[in-house]
Amino acid sequence: MNLHLVIEYVIDGISLGSLYALFALGIGLLFGIMRLINFAHGELMMIGAYGLFFIVSPPWPVRIAVILAITVAAALAMERIAFRPARGADPDTLLITSFAVSFLLQNLAILIFGALPRGVAISPFLTRSVHVGSYTIPNIDLVTVGVTAVLLAGLGAFLARTRIGVQMRAAAENFTMARLLGVRANTVIASAFALSGLLAGVASIILVQQTGIIGPTIGVTPVLAAFVATILGGLGSLTGAVVGGYFLGAVTVALQATLPLAFRSYRDAFVFAAVLLVLVLRPQGLLVHRSTYTRV
């Protein structure tokens, strides 16, 4: 394999890893604060994707703003209707609750829009490529990597610098203590949901622009990738979620490049198996977060 090819695979891996990191961050944010593993994160992306399908005419900035507003509103509604009443329940119950919300939304989408996937026009700009020397880099990869980098930096600054961001980190560290010190539970959790809605919205736009297809179950595979990435990174750690996302992207592309043709359709099965193997060696995940570690 020559260097040129390797570099193209590296670019692929970073692009895919960025997308996975976006998925995983949305899951990781909520888990850190309220021990909720949100299956329904995928359905936020599904809602964003349908937004992209139905809102076609306005120019891109308006379209993006509207879709992000929709996914943020959907995330807030989800929190208010389903997760606030269940707050304080054990993580199992929260997990099943989110599974139920996810299934409910998927089937509502089937009821309303039908089960068949639909095609969405991809922006012509994104289908073009940039030529750097002898390398061809698709614009969509550049946009994915760039947007993720900006979001990661923005999220980092938000968590480190703003009042609500600091409160969110405090709540993730020790929710009860944070409340005793005057952090408002409702505000912090609603902000976390709003942020995860924002991440889901951005991810849905990128995802649809990559595949050109939407459907009621479009969020299932991304959520699965997010789960695997967060487990890999270590549940509860945001850095872990990002690291896990990029790692998962790297493993996926590496397998895509090295698997014999006959096995290539099994790629994702190998990816999950590889991840499980990593976890045999390091069951806590790559990075361990203080709050999820029980001393025995």
Partner: protein, 364 residues
């Protein structure tokens, strides 16, 4: 001496009440089956399907209810059961024309019962392979990991064309699963789950469910114990798969994915995931609800073809039932207690509130 006698007596009454609860559940399932089997052929078909769901729920309960670790992977074990039963049941000529199997497998032929047992055994084997590494991840993470297992099995089933028929699936399996077979296996599954609950192993995994650090401090080896429970529950789900394969006749990988997982999880949680009675009651209850919704969907026709006018309604109803249960009665209808005919006079057991008490536990 007196103390010893009274201990012995209390042990005896304890065992009697556990047996009473087993008898109650067996009788309940037999009764419902008896009543529904008098109905139309369509209802009978629904009945067999739901008996298989019941077996799945009981199988899932053996692991989830006792260990407290959630699993989204058990439908994968059902898939293993169905495909392996199919491989030894499809007539040789059909196998030659539809699949590309090694000669010994083309010739392999087992009886219907043996096929179910084979499916169960292979599912248990798969669970044994993934069980230990999975359980090492710890409760919540292991639950997420099972989701990856479901996906791996699904991807393999959808792509291994030579053995599974790929995404179009397997066809030509003789449809031999009737009410008798399904009912017998449902009763067997309940007995297996009940017997398991009488073992020290079950007591140990329950201890680690209630308080893992404390259980470890007592010397309980949480990981291998959970893995053993996982294997047993996969065995039961594999049997359900073998029965399903021989009910459907033809099936593809999509039969063993999220929708089925959701149905089974919803049944377990709505019934109450911390008791065997919960598993059984939940399966029967949601089966009735979803049958009612199916009729509401409007596309209900007598005959083999069933075209729903509003696909999705049934699932939305199931999801709503599950959500309401989680919000109003998170420990399910039974709230973690075991049903028994000896308790009929004391129905206050099922008053709301009782179910909310955390870690309420009945021994049977």
């Amino acid at each position: 001496m007196a103390a010893e006698v009274s201990v012995r007596r209390s042990v005896r009454t304890e065992l009697a009440s556990r047996v009473a609860s087993l008898v109650t559940l067996l009788a309940l399932v037999a009764l419902v089956t008896g009543l529904a089997s008098l109905g139309s052929p369509v209802l009978q078909n629904v009945l067999v399907n739901n008996l298989i769901n019941l077996i799945l729920v009981v199988g899932l309960y053996i692991f989830v209810g006792n260990t407290g670790v959630f699993s989204f992977g058990h439908i994968g074990f059902m898939a293993i059961g169905a495909y392996s039963a199919g491989l030894v049941r499809i007539p040789e000529e059909t196998k030659v024309s539809l699949l590309q199997l090694p000669p010994w497998l083309e010739r392999a032929h087992l009886t219907s019962l043996e096929a179910v047992l084979l499916g169960a055994a292979l599912a248990a084997l798969a669970a044994a392979i993934v069980g230990l590494p999975l359980m090492r991840l710890g409760g919540l993470t292991a639950g997420l990991g099972t989701f990856a297992i479901l996906n791996i099995i699904n991807i393999v089933a959808a792509n291994w064309n030579a053995f599974t028929g790929g995404s179009t699936g397997m066809a030509g399996v003789p449809t031999t699963t009737g009410i008798t077979a399904a009912l017998s296996w449902a009763l067997i599954a309940i007995v297996i789950a009940w017997l398991f609950q009488q073992t020290r192993l079950c007591l140990r995994v329950r201890a680690s469910r209630e308080d893992e650090p404390a259980a470890r401090a007592l010397g309980i080896k949480v990981v291998p114990d959970r893995a053993l429970a996982f294997v047993l529950s996969a065995f039961v789900c594999g049997a359900a798969g073998g029965l399903y394969g021989q009910l459907a006749g033809s099936f593809g990988p999509s039969a063993f994915f999220l929708p089925t997982t959701f149905t089974v999880v919803a049944m377990l949680v709505v019934g109450g995931r911390y008791s065997l009675s919960g598993a059984v009651v939940g399966a029967l209850f949601l089966a009735s609800v979803s049958e009612g919704l199916r009729r509401l969907e409007g596309g209900f026709h007598i005959g083999a073809l069933h075209v729903a006018s509003r696909p999705g309604l049934q699932e939305v109803g199931l999801a709503a039932a599950l959500l309401l249960t989680l919000l109003l009665r998170p420990r399910g209808l039974t709230g973690g207690t075991e049903l028994s005919f000896t308790d009929v006079g004391r129905l206050r057991r099922f008053a709301p509130g009782r179910g909310r008490r955390k870690h309420e536990e009945s021994p049977a």
